[in-house]
Point group: C2
Chain length 327, copies 2
Amino acid sequence: MRNPTLHDVARAAGVSYSTADRVLNQRGGVAEKSVLRVRQAIADLGYCRDISAANLSRGRSYRFVAYVPPGDHGFFSHLRQALLDEARTRAGERVVLDLRDLPPDGAPIPECDGIAMVGAQTEGLGTMTNGLSADGVPVVAVVSDMPGRRLYVGIDNLVAGRTAARLLRIAHRGGPGRILPVVGSLALQDHRDRLTGAAEVLDGHLDLLPPVQVRDQPDRMRRMVGQALADDPAITGIYSIGAGNRGLFAVMAGMARRPFAVVHELTPHSRAALQDGLIDVVIDQKPAEEAARALDALKSIADGEDPVPATITPAIFFKDNLPEDCA
Amino acid sequence: MRNPTLHDVARAAGVSYSTADRVLNQRGGVAEKSVLRVRQAIADLGYCRDISAANLSRGRSYRFVAYVPPGDHGFFSHLRQALLDEARTRAGERVVLDLRDLPPDGAPIPECDGIAMVGAQTEGLGTMTNGLSADGVPVVAVVSDMPGRRLYVGIDNLVAGRTAARLLRIAHRGGPGRILPVVGSLALQDHRDRLTGAAEVLDGHLDLLPPVQVRDQPDRMRRMVGQALADDPAITGIYSIGAGNRGLFAVMAGMARRPFAVVHELTPHSRAALQDGLIDVVIDQKPAEEAARALDALKSIADGEDPVPATITPAIFFKDNLPEDCA
DNA sequence: GCGAAAATGAAAGACGTCAATCATTTTTTG
DNA sequence: CAAAAAATGATTGACGTCTTTCATTTTCGC
């Protein structure tokens, strides 16, 4: 009925609790045949160490540090909130989260059991190998991947780009069209990935114009996209890959026949634009889910398990399937 | 640094551990002013009971029962597998899941800490009030809602229908079209909801034909949809609301100019059909996520917390954003 | 102010694991 | 075979909470 304990395992293996413990926790100094017998007993009984009891005993808490780029609005502020919320609901499971701004290059590595950080353009933690920072702390990349991390939790941006392109193709019904891609910067891997994915699916079906770079700035977005639309009235679709979409919405609000528009990230602004019919699709990476999965992963790693690479499938929102809670 | 313990709370409140415990666990027999002082101390220190320790002490395990309709293929078999997988990864957290077929009416209620069941057409557990079965066991509805449950974990079928309709509208680019809805049965609330949602969004834009009922049977689907398409060559879109889609794929495979097709649930068959271009969109309710959220909810309830109503946003799959793992 | 009732305090043994110590047995080595 | 080394067993006190028991103090009604 109840799960077997390590005592049961020891008894079944015909060894003492100490020996079973030495095997389980790899303390060494155990004869090969004893190791095998204990392993066998563990397998036979289906023993599964009680993590709660173990953590209680160790007096251990999961101290995690999350690094998120600063900014008190937009996507990253959502992510921050999601991380804090998620950590709070796990407070009873001894999870303590320390949320910080992305550190400058060469900042000291905090003493903790794991780090979640937005990858991207930063080198904050210096070189990492085997998913560990220089001090041996496991690092999980969130939202944006980075080299050397132990695990990446986030959407596949290539796939996101392909998704956007497929929606654009559907909206053109197989007919011709000209698509304007708008990126924050081509220096960002994420943006390049989305663009590449889109190009793959559009290729041979719709024309993909050279991308406009707006540095995630609304006013720049407004100016440059407005200009592009004026220069080329044949534009039938827009794929906004980065941030600063308020500028896009402003442009769209002033148009009679709008091109089909796909943007990223559900925010109060994009939500309103969707509802008002200024844009057609929002591809959202669900920061709440990313936060939850990131903490799951950090906990798994801290427990010595193999973290399950939870792929986040981006949500696709239209005017008609917006979630009720204001995001 | 470390979380305060109940001892700390007692000390801060100037009472004994016993009294603090009596307040925390509502054992009664405590003077009002002591209750207030303890509550204050809990708030001041931000005390949060260590659930692991509590469970360890109680020798408690979370014994949950899940009722899923029988069948060794298709959606429900996915759901079963997802539930088992999810339970296994939580075995270390004392979660024990007993997976059963949906019981006949009036079956005895198992002794356990919570029940997850697919709602729908069953009355298996008899009357429920306040989310509790007759024996006081909390019940969570999964996939399909039911009256009297404590919480529903699943997608909003109205929204799913609206989503499908929006995709159909996009695919028609504002032009005219005739949409054939295919349901399993109009007796199923879920199917009616999806149809209603679709009707809302299509209204005034595309013609929605009377629904075909195929009882989730592939051969019936094949026959009836084939007939409908032959009778009305002007059909430009199909929304398959229920199961039995293999029949649909067979019909589509024999057509030169296919209507735009939206179906539900990602299965090996629908996946293949999507990749082969036989259909255009799959709306999936992500059984793995539903399983995870259902267990989350049951655990929360068992811990006496208020479960967070985790809305599941259906995933929208095209040919280009299919997940890698075979579903 | 006296007895009864209510409130409080003190203590102890679980729960399953960890981590350490020390004694004892077995195996290896020369 | 004796000594050294390796392996094993036995035991103990945490960790934070639950639960129960029993003794003691405070409060209340009359």
